[in-house]
Amino acid sequence: MAVEAAKPKLADAAGANSVAGTRDPAHLKIRDLVYRISGIYHSEQKMYLLVSSCSRRMSECGIATPSEYLDRLTTGANRDAELKQLLNEITIGETYMFRHPAQLDALSTVILPQIMKNKTALGLKRLRFWSAGCSTGEEPYTLAIFLNEEKQLAGWNFEILATDLNTRSLEASKAGIYGEYALRNIAEPLRRKYFKEASNNKLEVNDLLRSRVRFDRVNLSDDSKMVFLKGIDVIFCCNVLIYFDLASKKRVVQHFFTNLLPGGYFFLGHAESLYQVDDTFRLVHFPGTTAYWKAPPGAAAAGGGKA
């Protein structure tokens, strides 16, 4: 949820390439390159986003054709730097709260009931969530509001850990001041309950909401810190791993596996996958979203089967 793929309004001519066959083959090669390196996949319906990201980089670099740009990405002297620029371009765009209702629905209908059942059997009534790469805080605050509103959690304690590497982002998260764009999906009653007026028509998270989230600076590549994060039930790590090379990505994901309790879940960005990064997690499809599951030993299906 942290930083999401560019929004359609950024596309110059959305849909102009929707008829198969009119596409420059170099764009398809760039698509596959981006997928291999970052795990972000542009399906046919999302190709226009990649095309417009490439166009912006191309005009920045003074490159005229997609195939020249492909060369720059594959054989150019600064190919790693350029790839990073392109990934920035792809994930550009402010995020907003409650951006992925399907993830919250999966939590509410399957994940929470399943985890709570397991914990109840152990006599525990505590849940831990981790927003890894929380950017400017929209994701952890969304989670906090959502969990606070979940009736099934009555009598339970929950804790949300939100971390980022970037201290400026963390400061913005802690300040918790948001404009209309970030709040667009939040209805009036929730605004009144969790926010207070700030200057310039903005809203600031109130003490209730603030008390629900703990912020900390964590470098996901810092093994010594990662091993101390234990007992997590659900991790969100959206569009963060895309910047890591394969070896570091593998190490972070292995850490996540250890950080999670058996039966815990791990959400990536919605076009982002662990393909060829990891096969210890199990890919689970929920309506409108996917997650990775740390299946407890001997488990059959997620959520005890479908439905």
Partner: protein
């Protein structure tokens, strides 16, 4: 479902005038559907489409829609070539069935039904090609037909089926669960009888009969396994029947997947995440196709043969 119930259902379906004596082009169309695509003569399809003015006009309209048109399509022959025999026969099938069922008898949203059926057809066929199943077009057909029993139930048990849909949507549970509770039989039973009645091969009948209950079969064939997976994928990616079910599916843990891998090990190499996103795009196109053929939310069927 016991034998006695099946026999009763057979009797009812045989008596169902609207379905057994369907539009004039249904029988020749079914004959074409029972054939492998590469053995179907283009002229035969063109002739069939041309028999019905309404249907011919529809095909031209679809071929000229932005989804397919590269240039203006003016003849039925060009329309069939633009759309491809496979798409034409499923469009014809949809138009025929819509013509068979009175507008007020639909329980499921008509377009949602065709989106799901065509979506499942496409997912099943794509999966079949990917894993090296020798007859992908048969897989397409199995997907197209798998839920046809819903239409039978809409007519035979209209009121009770409405109740099923309402409770299933309230409980966010699979429809067949409610069918079992309320009707005592499911769309699988009805679809099975109808597909048999229409003379489809055992494999296709099996796919319609058991896509939700593979465990009933000693050794489910590849077709029913693929339809099972295709149906699940459509339901988790938004091609469902007007409500979102509560579900969590790990495809690689499904019995159907394990069964299928035994015969087609290539399935294990499929990047299923990427496959899912590719299918999202295809499903978008299907939704557009369905709306362009049947019109968004229009109540009455278009075929008038």
């Amino acid at each position: 479902m016991n034998e006695e119930r099946i026999a009763k259902l057979r009797g009812k379906i045989a008596k169902l005038d609207s379905i057994s004596t369907a539009p004039a082009i249904l029988q020749p169309l079914l004959a074409i559907m029972r054939q492998p695509v590469d053995e179907i003569a283009l002229e035969k399809v063109v002739e069939l489409v041309s028999r019905d003015g309404g249907i011919a006009a529809q095909c031209l309209r679809v071929a000229n829609s932005p989804l397919f048109a590269r240039r203006a399509v003016e003849t039925v022959r060009a329309a069939v070539m633009t759309l491809g025999i496979e798409r034409v026969r499923s469009v014809l099938f949809g138009l025929c069935m819509n013509g068979t069922i009175p507008a007020d008898k639909w329980v499921l949203d008509r377009n949602a039904f065709w989106r799901h059926s065509l979506g499942c057809a496409l997912v099943t066929q794509t999966m079949a090609s990917k894993i090296g199943y020798p007859e992908p077009e048969k897989a397409y057909l199995a997907g197209l037909l798998h839920d046809i029993g819903f239409l039978v139930i809409s007519i035979l048990d209209h009121e009770k089926f409405l109740e099923c849909l309402r409770s299933a949507a309230d409980r966010r549970c699979p429809l067949d669960l409610m069918e079992n509770e309320v009707l005592g039989y499911t769309h699988e039973d009805a679809g099975s009888v109808l597909c048999e009645h229409w003379g489809f091969s055992n494999e296709l009948v099996e796919a319609a009969t058991c896509h939700h209950r593979l465990e009933m079969m000693a050794t489910p064939g590849p077709l029913v396994c693929m339809v099972h997976l295709g149906d699940l994928l459509c339901r988790v990616r938004g091609l469902s029947y007007g409500y979102t079910e509560v579900m969590a599916v790990s495809f690689s843990q499904e019995g159907a997947w394990r069964q299928l891998v035994k015969a087609y090990p290539a399935l294990e190499d499929v990047d299923f995440f990427r496959f899912t996103l590719d299918m999202d795009s295809a499903m978008d196109q299907i939704a557009a196709l369905v709306d362009s053929v049947f019109g968004p939310g229009r109540a009455a069927g278009a075929a008038s043969a």
